[in-house]
């Protein structure tokens, strides 16, 4: 018996992430890949989408090191004296996605290089508020 496919939404996206898988969707009509779990293809409007497992490999395309932090990250100890890095990752399969960038020195942004190779990082995943994160490959 095959498992019922999961609904294409953020709940499924983050459930997969907690299981260690970065799952986006692929449009069966036009082939467009999306790193977000969308129930409809934004390019051709087809509802024929399927889960697509991303390799978790990518490159850092832009980033920022944030010192004035949202409440959720202040709770984790980030702030003026302990900034964190977030960025835009271009995935090996093509699409881009926003993600936390771990394993870099956010207090010294000049040491972080756009273009650096990244890999999906699951080790610091928060069970309650899972977030996509990458680290140096």
């Amino acid at each position: 018996m095959t498992e019922e496919p999961r609904e294409f939404n953020a709940a499924s996206f983050y459930a997969y992430l907690k299981e260690g898988q970065f799952m986006g969707v692929r449009c069966r009509s036009c082939g467009k890949l999306s790193a977000e779990a969308r129930p409809m293809c934004p390019a051709c409007h087809s509802r024929e989408v399927e889960w697509f497992r991303f390799s978790g490999q990518g490159q850092l395309s832009a980033f920022t090191c944030i010192s004035v932090v949202p409440a959720a990250l202040a709770e984790k100890g980030y702030g003026r004296n302990n900034p964190y890095c977030s960025g835009i990752v271009t995935l090996a399969e093509g699409p881009r996605i926003s993600a936390r960038i771990l394993g870099v020195d956010a207090a010294s942004p000049q040491t972080i290089a756009t273009g650096m190779n990244l890999a999906l990082a699951l080790e610091d995943l928060d069970e309650d508020k899972p977030a996509l994160a990458f680290g140096p490959a």
Binding site: C65, I66, P70
Partner: protein
């Protein structure tokens, strides 16, 4: 492919629409004022300065931009409350929410309501009361204008997303931190000439005042020689979201703005100096990670193309502009997206002083969001107000020195490019 600024379908208004009056509250931090107090202040300013007056009962409809009184003040359903406090009930008033482009969108709704033929006299405006919350709270409320499922969990804040845009611009072009700081210096110089601005002072004045205060208090006096020294001092100008610092960010502001729109055919009943809506455009964009480019806002290019097509003008024809400088990098990108400068040429234009009050392309003569203040829901219409005053030659000490001023433009962005509204105004 980026949108071509000459490719938009040419849409036209059903009939011409004019702006005949404008009013604005003081922008700043006002502990005891609520949205309704701020909007009443703006409305009174409008009534006092409407050349030939109006009976409020003659206003047929209203659209008010407001981002989030719900989260900032715990007040939803703000439109009828404002209608009541303006003494306008039972006139229909609708709240429009498009983040920081809320009142830009409200203005468009008003323009279309008149162009449709349904109404002749419409009030449009915007209001935001932001300073009740601490900075962390404001950061969270503003972040809710980004994608709560795929951007916010990644730790991206509103300054954070613009920080990433800035980094991408620096990687691709010659842009550096000094270019960003120079935008802030310029806008503060303009804000110093605007009595309604939150920062009605140049950065030079602000740093001299700080030095004087330190001297009075007998503490160590900072050795800043000029604005750049001050802005490069990490204690005076701390990082918010590298490469953006405190003085790269628009402040947290309370304020309200409104203008009176009428069918052009009756504009003479209100003023001898109407300003006409020559073109208007609005577009939607995607989160930065799904954007075509990391150095441009596609919605801005599309909205601009629509507005240029409707007005039948080109970027080179625009003589004065208010652009959405929620962050210094946003102004540089705006001047490129609007076609004033080639992509990547924005920073050089700043270096050459071309966007200063006396430059050939004055940008943000009001002080911009940076110095005038950024009560998010009020900013789009406040930009229109500055352009209205410039085109009527009544901008006082910050009037651009161009005797043939005819065309102005406003560029109002919601969030990080999810919405953009561009209006082109023509002197009547």
């Amino acid at each position: 492919m980026a949108t071509s600024l000459t490719s938009a379908k040419r849409r036209q208004l059903g009939r011409p629409v004019s702006i005949v009056g404008a009013g604005m509250s003081r922008f700043g931090a006002f502990r005891d004022k609520t949205s309704r107090d701020l909007f009443v202040e703006a409305f009174q300013d409008l009534l006092e300065h409407l050349d030939q007056g109006i009976d409020v009962a003659d206003i047929e409809c209203g659209y008010i931009g407001n981002y989030s009184a719900d989260l900032f003040e715990g007040q939803g359903h703000t439109a009828p409350i404002l209608a009541d406090w303006l003494g306008m009930t039972p006139t229909p008033v609708t709240r429009i929410e498009n983040a920081c482009a809320s009142s830009g969108s409200a203005l468009r709704e008003g323009v279309m309501a008149i162009a449709s033929g349904m109404y002749d006299v419409v009030l449009v405006g915007g209001v935001e009361k932001m300073t009740n919350l601490p900075t962390e709270g404001v950061t969270d409320v503003l972040a809710s204008a980004a994608d709560g499922l795929y951007e916010v969990p990644a730790g991206l804040t509103f300054p954070g997303i613009y920080g990433a845009l800035a980094k991408a611009h620096m990687d691709r072009y010659e842009t550096n931190l000094s270019h960003l700081l120079k935008v802030g210096i310029k806008n503060h110089n303009n804000g110093a000439l605007n009595p309604k601005a939150q920062f009605n002072a140049s950065l030079r004045d602000m740093l001299e005042r700080r030095k004087a205060r330190a001297e009075q208090q007998g503490g160590p006096v900072p050795d800043w020689r000029d604005e750049m020294d001050f802005l490069n001092d990490a204690r005076a100008n701390p990082w918010i979201a590298w490469p953006l610092r405190l003085y790269d960010c628009a402040p947290i502001t309370d304020g309200a703005s409104c203008v009176l729109l009428v069918a052009a055919e009756i504009a003479a009943n209100f003023t001898d100096k109407p300003v006409h809506i020559a073109g208007t455009g609005q577009a939607s964009g995607r989160p930065l990670h799904d954007a075509e480019e990391l150095t441009s806002l596609s919605a801005a290019r599309e909205a601009a193309a629509q507005a240029y097509a409707m007005a039948g003008v080109a970027p080179q024809d625009i003589q004065v502009a208010e652009v959405h400088d929620c962050f210094t990098i946003a102004e540089i990108i705006a001047t490129e997206d609007l076609g004033f400068f080639e992509p990547g040429a924005g920073p050089r234009a700043v270096d050459e002083g071309r966007t200063a009050l006396h430059g050939d392309r004055p940008i943000n003569t009001s002080g911009g969001l940076k110095a005038k203040g950024h009560p998010v829901g009020a900013s789009g219409v406040a930009q229109v107000i500055e352009t209205f005053h410039q085109l009527r030659g009544e901008a006082g000490p910050r009037q651009v020195p161009n005797p043939n001023l005819e065309l102005g433009l406003t560029h109002n962005v919601g969030g990080t490019g999810g919405t953009c509204v561009v209006n082109i105004l023509r002197r009547g």
